[in-house]
């Protein structure tokens, strides 16, 4: 046993001695570990995030188009705008006998890269996330006056807003868009508690406010020579003409398919109703292909790493013949030489995996906050589960088997060289 510990320590010192050449192999193994564990984690956690972001909504109604696109835009404020649906239709759905509540959403404007959502105060009562948690106010209350705005926790934290802070909304949802609604400033009346969902990074105003800031706009630009002052806006009819989407809660979930069919068959307007769960499943199915491709790439990187391992050790054997002969002369058996080399392979693979795990931790620490700030997606580091440890164990085992190739070669060399030091 002590003999094996000694040989293992020799393997460690020998590998360290050639760290320059072996570093790339270790990096390659680290990269494959990072990919294999990272992809699985990020995928799972993003999915979790999406699933948790909205709950209790039975249908999302909107203009007919892509269901996934409507979901991503209306709930996660990701991707491009969809067509609007008429306010009339929204009201008819709200009045339907099966419908318990509706929340209209109107999107399109932004504030310093954060989406602005026009909705009704009911939003704060009905919106649920993570299996039923309510949106809470950390400070203040829902919007009431025309130019009130409620901001998500991340918006408040990042931009340093407090209750009463004035802010100006920008037209459009690109950070590059310069047109600003600077003639109609808003004041913060409420700050929401953190939720870990897209709510954190959004701003909420009333539907009327959305109408008011666009009174003197047409087709995405201010109408020349026509200005409505902020104090005059209240005198206009601020009923919205259209909205982006309508979140629908039913009295009984069993009616969801019936209502979906009914909305889809609407004659007055081309609409659709999307079940959030189904749309999410469609999205994952779409992403599955890409994900499988990524996993395949990780597997290939692992293979490359292992092949690199074998060839790096093999390449080093030539100049190590002396070392092997010295060990032989001091009583090492050819099997000891085999063990020494296999040990080195296992050591390198283990070092690679450890480095990969460290990188994974740093990756999550590094990109976690960035994703949370930008997309409201919360990632957290978690240690590998049982199956992942098995996978890592499998890589070590594969490393052991791979290093048997150079080990076997060294075994042959030490048998044929014996004690002669050729060259």
């Amino acid at each position: 046993m002590r003999r094996f510990f000694y040989l293992a320590s020799l393997a460690r010192k020998s590998a360290w001695n050639r760290r320059g050449t072996l570093a790339l192999v270790v990096l390659c193994i680290a990269l494959s570990t990072l990919l294999l564990l990272g992809i699985e984690r990020i995928r799972g956690q993003i999915r979790e995030n999406f699933v948790q972001a909205v709950s209790g909504v039975d249908l999302v109604a909107g203009a007919r188009g892509g269901g996934i696109q409507l979901m991503l835009y209306a709930v996660f404020h990701l991707g491009g705008a969809t067509n609007n649906m008429g306010w009339e239709s929204a009201q008819r759905i709200a009045a339907h006998r099966d419908v318990a509540w509706t929340i209209p959403l109107s999107l399109g404007d932004s504030h310093k890269g954060h989406p602005v959502v026009a909705t009704v105060p009911d939003f704060f009562d009905h919106y649920r996330f993570r299996g039923g948690e309510r949106v809470e106010f950390a400070e203040g209350r829902a919007f009431d006056a025309l130019f009130d705005v409620v901001i998500g926790a991340e918006v408040a934290r990042k931009l340093g807003y407090r209750l009463g802070s004035p802010l100006v909304l920008s037209h459009g949802n690109s950070e590059m868009m310069l047109a600003e609604h600077d003639d109609k400033p808003f004041a913060v009346t409420g700050i929401l508690a953190p939720t870990g969902t897209p709510v954190d990074r959004a701003l909420y105003i009333s539907l009327a406010a959305m109408e008011a800031i666009h009174l003197d706009w047409q087709g995405g630009v201010p109408i020349p020579g026509f200005r409505v002052r902020a104090d005059q806006a209240g005198k206009f009819d601020l009923t919205p003409k259209s909205i982006t989407a309508l979140l629908v809660g039913l009295k009984s979930r069993s009616r969801v398919f019936a209502l979906q069919r009914e909305i889809g068959a609407w004659k007055e307007e081309a609409l659709m109703g999307v079940m959030p769960g189904v749309a999410m499943d469609d999205l994952w199915r779409m992403l599955d292909t890409g994900e499988r491709a990524l996993l395949l790439v990780s597997a290939l990187v692992t293979l490359t790493g292992l092949a690199g391992l074998a060839s790096a050790i093999l390449a080093g054997l030539g100049e190590r013949r002396r070392e092997l002969a010295i060990l032989r002369s001091a009583g090492a058996r050819p099997l000891d030489i085999l063990f020494l080399l296999a040990c080195e392979g296992v050591l390198l693979v283990s070092a690679g995996i450890a480095l990969g795990l460290v990188c994974l931790i740093f990756l999550f620490l590094g990109i976690g906050p960035m994703l949370a700030g930008r997309y409201g997606i919360v990632l957290y580091f978690s240690w590998p589960g049982r199956e992942e440890w098995l996978l890592l164990g499998g890589i070590v085992a594969a490393g052991f088997l791979t290093s048997l190739v150079p080990a076997w070669r060294a075994y042959r060399i030490s048998l044929s060289d014996g004690l002669t030091l050729s060259t």
């Binding site: 020799l10 001695n17 010295i326 060990l327 002369s329 001091a330 009583g331 090492a332 058996r333 004690l419």
Partner: protein, 240 residues
């Protein structure tokens, strides 16, 4: 396996060896006897079978026929791994050059046999109390200053390297020391110093010494001088 006068340090009888696939033997030795504590000088031109002979005595090679005993143990009847074990315990080996493992310190190089052979370790411990002390005593007597002991061996001179190799071969007092042209890479002054130190240590350890060299001028320091061509019937046939 303490050396007793009844047992030879090395005893070869009727040994013949040929490489696989070759009909003609490269080695054909009727008798080679080395008494315990004897210092044997062995010379011979290259190709005379010296390396093969050393391989046989060290238990790396097996003879086609005949018997080989080192310190009373019959190598020709042992399994390969038993011979490896025996070599670790009872034979110290010094190569012509490049004797050291580059990633180990001087002390670590000296201690290699102690970690590979329990017998060597036990004897070293019995003699010095700790492995480190055992190595330190040897290095001191071989005139290697303590400031080198923990350092990497890559910057040592050839003379220093050969003395470290001698310390490694001697640690744990093996029955037999085999030195394969250990001084041929040294200049004359260093060669004499090395030889003196080596012979001293062998005497102290009570180890027999088989010293191979083609520098006939060194033969005077040894109790016995043998020539490969006299020993090896196969080589005699070749040179005729």
């Amino acid at each position: 396996m303490a050396s007793s006068s009844a047992v030879f340090a090395v005893a070869l009888r009727g040994v013949r060896f040929s490489w696989p696939g070759q009909a003609r033997p490269v080695l054909d030795i009727a008798d080679l006897l080395i008494r315990p504590g004897e210092r044997v000088f062995l010379s011979g031109p290259s190709g005379s079978g010296k390396s093969t002979l050393l391989g046989l005595i060290a238990g790396i090679l097996q003879p086609d026929c005949g018997s080989i005993a080192v310190d009373g143990a019959a190598l020709h009847t042992m399994s390969a791994s038993a011979r490896d074990r025996f070599r670790g315990a009872e034979i110290g080996f010094i190569f012509q050059q490049f004797n050291l493992v580059p990633y180990l310190s001087m002390i670590e190089n000296v201690l290699i046999p102690c970690y590979l052979s329990p017998q060597r370790q036990a004897r070293a411990l019995r003699q010095a109390g700790s492995l480190r002390d055992a190595a330190a005593h040897l290095l001191e007597r071989l005139e290697l200053a303590p400031e080198f002991w923990e350092r990497p061996v890559t910057r040592l001179s050839t003379g220093q390297q050969q003395r470290v190799a001698a310390a490694r071969a001697l640690i744990g007092t093996p029955a037999l020391l085999i030195a394969d042209e250990p001084s041929s890479a040294l200049d004359a002054d260093r060669r004499d110093v090395f030889l003196k130190l080596l012979l001293n240590e062998c005497a102290l350890a009570g180890s027999s010494l088989l010293f191979v060299s083609h520098d006939i001028g060194l033969a005077g320091a040894f109790s016995t001088a043998l020539r490969m061509n006299d020993l090896n019937a196969a080589a005699q046939g070749e040179t005729m």
